[in-house]
Structure formats: structure tokens, C-alpha cells
């Protein structure tokens, strides 16, 4: 029986879309208001999907308390109420688009020991979302 378990989390963070490899005009043209120099923010929602056998003793793919603690430590503590460009090392070089955010959060969560990470899905706003399932 193939089962996926999905848990949804939220964090609020500031970011600015700006590439050092582009001129100011190109950044402005490409990223529009997302390139404003002081940055802006979002309420992000993150869906973490796990798969694996259902443990016969617990009836669970993974203990949610363990997953919550892991996601809290690896992602929420590092991202919630932070400036992604300045306070998350991966975004000192990479632009913190939601695409790159998916890849970074997947990288941080794929070592979860109790189950296999299937997918990370992020809603930047209610109107757009991005998914990453690894390579």
C-alpha cells in the first residue's frame, strides 16, 4: 500500500529578488517590484510530503512530533521572521526565489531519519506555489 503523509507549516520572512550578475536596469526589468532595494515579505506555507512503510506498532509513517521538531530545527527556526537574503547562508549567492527556496528546504529536510522525503511544496502567496521532488 503506497501512502504519502503531508504536513503543512508556515513561516513569515523578508526577501528581495536581485541578481548580482545583472545590471540594476536588468534587475528592475526582470524582477519588477520584487527588486525594490529594501525588500518585502511573505507568509510562506510549506507542505512536506513523506513516504515509507506504516509502522505496525504505531500505525504511522512517521511520528508527527518528531517531524515537527525536525522541521522546526532545520527550517522554521532558520527562516521564520528572518531576512532570507541576509540571514540564510544559501541566499548570499543564490536569489531567494521560491524555486530556490524549495531546493534549499528540500536539501535541509532530506536527511529526516524516520521516512523518505517525497516532495516539498511552497506557497509564496495564495496565488502561486512551487514544488520540488529532488533530482
Amino acid at each position: 500500500m503506497k501512502l504519502h503523509l503531508t504536513r503543512r507549516y508556515a513561516f513569515a520572512a523578508a526577501h528581495r529578488l536581485h541578481s548580482a550578475q545583472l545590471s540594476e536596469e536588468e534587475n528592475r526589468r526582470l524582477y519588477g517590484k520584487c527588486a525594490n532595494p529594501y525588500g518585502h515579505g511573505h507568509n510562506y506555507h510549506v507542505e512536506v510530503t513523506l513516504s515509507g512503510p506504516v509502522d505496525a506498532a504505531t500505525g504511522m509513517i512517521a511520528n508527527l512530533a518528531e517531524l515537527d521538531a525536525f522541521v522546526g530545527r532545520e527550517v522554521l527556526d532558520a527562516f521564520d521572521h528572518k531576512n532570507l537574503n541576509e540571514e540564510v547562508p544559501a541566499f548570499r549567492s543564490a536569489v531567494p526565489t521560491t524555486e530556490n527556496l524549495c531546493v534549499e528546504i528540500f536539501r535541509r529536510l532530506c536527511t529526516f531519519p524516520a521516512a523518505h522525503l517525497e516532495r516539498v511544496r511552497i506557497e509564496e502567496t495564495g496565488l502561486n506555489s512551487f514544488e520540488y521532488a529532488g533530482e
Binding site: 500500500m1 503523509l5 503543512r8 506504516v54 504505531t58 500505525g59
Partner: protein
């Protein structure tokens, strides 16, 4: 291939308890879900059927028929019930979202004869859901 999804909601009580364990072990693993007096949820169930539309009716299956199957197999069994005590298919199982989703799959799969059951998605609350694909995918 067309994927058709129908959604229903049911409310039920449950608790998590492994009789092979001490009360302390149950409390450690299951936290507040181990309270033997039980608690409840408004479950949301999305049932997805895959198929090709019938050339005459334009339908994968008759939605009215699917609605009746869901009413008979799920609503009458689980709505306003206690999952630990009143659902024979869950007897001896801990009614986690994983086990309830798999049980719903097993109840629906043989009943859906037009198209093929593709996915059962069960939300325990808006922040937690389980997808069951049977042996497929």
C-alpha cells in the same frame, strides 16, 4: 486519462493506543492523542477516479453513483462515529490518518467499477493529510 475528484466531509472521534505498551509508553509516543477518552476531527476526504470519458455520456463515471458509494461505504460507516469502537474494518488497528486512509481505499477500490480508483486523500485537519495510492504509482 481524466482524473475526477469528489470531496466529502465527516466528523469522527478517535484516540491512539497500542495495547502492547504501558500507559507511559503510549503517552510518550502518541502525546495528547493517547487520551483514552478520545477526541475528534472534521475529516475531509477527496476521492480521485481515473478513466476515459464514455463516448455516449461524456462521463468517466456517473457522479451520482460515486456519491451513493461514498454515502454507503464511508458516511454511514464513519460519520459521527468513534473510529476505535464503531468501525469493524479498523478493529485492532490504531486509527491514524495513514490507517484510516488505507481502510477507505480498501472499502472503495472494489466498489468503483467504472474508471479506476487513483487516489484517496484524507485530511485530518487543513495542515495534515495522507494520500493513498493502493499498490499503484
Amino acid at each position: 486519462m481524466i482524473y475526477l475528484t469528489r470531496k466529502i466531509e465527516f466528523s469522527a472521534a478517535h484516540y491512539y493506543h497500542n495495547p502492547a505498551w504501558s500507559p507511559e509508553e503510549n503517552a510518550r509516543v502518541f502525546g495528547k492523542c493517547a487520551n483514552l477518552k478520545g477526541h475528534g476531527h472534521n475529516y475531509v476526504l477527496e476521492v480521485t477516479v481515473a478513466g476515459t470519458p464514455d463516448p455516449v455520456t461524456g462521463m468517466v463515471l456517473d457522479l451520482k453513483e460515486l456519491k451513493e458509494i461514498l454515502e454507503r461505504e464511508i458516511m454511514q460507516r464513519m460519520d459521527h462515529r468513534h473510529l476505535n469502537h464503531e468501525v469493524p474494518e479498523l478493529a485492532g488497528k490504531i486509527p491514524t490518518t495513514e490507517n484510516v486512509a488505507a481502510t477507505i481505499w480498501n472499502l472503495l477500490q472494489p466498489k468503483i467499477t467504472k474508471g479506476k480508483l487513483h487516489r484517496v486523500r484524507l485530511y485530518e485537519n487543513p495542515d495534515l493529510f495522507v494520500d493513498c495510492f493502493g499498490d499503484g504509482r
